[in-house]
């Protein structure tokens, strides 16, 4: 038998508990999310920069 109704009830209870956290705790959660987003953005920028060929550096070592 499916446990889905129980799972949904547990999820709803968990969400209610999160809403009952103090305002300061919720603000700290958002600050943690912001830090994570910044890190993801920075790592994405670094990855893009490493993929972009350097226009000055020769791409073919035989030409170097």
């Amino acid at each position: 038998m499916s446990d889905t109704p129980n799972l949904l009830q547990r999820q709803a209870a968990w969400q209610k508990r999160r809403a009952a956290l103090s305002w300061a705790d919720k603000i700290r959660m958002v600050e943690a999310m912001q830090r994570t987003l910044r890190q993801l953005k920075n790592s994405g920028n670094r990855m893009r920069a490493s993929r972009t060929p350097d226009p000055i550096k020769p791409q073919n070592s035989e030409n170097a």
Partner: protein, 159 residues
């Protein structure tokens, strides 16, 4: 800023204020409603920017970076926001008193903004029980938002 006479009053609104009543929601900035000392100025936010810069908080485009938060100062722009600011509550943020727009006004301002994320805010505030539909309807009626409220209600509540 109030003491220095740069602004007359302030209150946090938007997502950061909404979180007093609902679950934490992802937001990148903090919105602060302000009534300024000289609303007739064309560069209405200049005194705020100058005050913040003098205290080491530099403007970056539309926002002022304060700690980890980009903060957007929004001067009151209609009767609804003026009233929201006047009737804002003083919340306690870990011992620090902080003026915050109340739940009903947060919902009404979101209703007037009418973007998808604003509708989600109205729903979250209603579901949290911090504002009753009848309270929001009365506020909407007083501020010319009755049609917007009816559309919202038909779309999201009257299923």
């Amino acid at each position: 800023m109030c003491v220095a006479g740069v602004i007359n009053n302030y209150a946090l609104f938007g997502a950061a204020a909404q979180m007093r009543y609902t679950e934490a929601v992802a937001t990148l900035d903090a919105d602060v409603l302000v009534s300024v000392a000289h609303p007739e100025r064309l560069d209405i936010l200049a005194p705020i920017c100058e005050f913040c810069a003098a205290h080491g908080y530099m403007p970056e485009g539309e926002v002022i970076q304060i700690g980890s938060w980009p903060v957007q100062f929004v001067p009151v722009f209609n009767q609804l926001t003026r009233e929201a600011l006047e009737k804002a509550e003083t919340a306690d943020f870990e011992g620090i008193p902080f003026r915050v727009v109340g739940a009903a006004y947060l919902a009404a301002i979101a209703l007037s903004a009418a973007r998808a994320k604003d509708y989600a805010r109205v729903l979250a505030l209603l579901e949290s029980g911090s504002v009753a539909p009848s309270e929001l309807e009365a506020l909407a009626q007083r501020h010319g938002l009755l049609e917007a409220w009816k559309r919202f209600k038909a779309r999201f509540l009257d299923e």
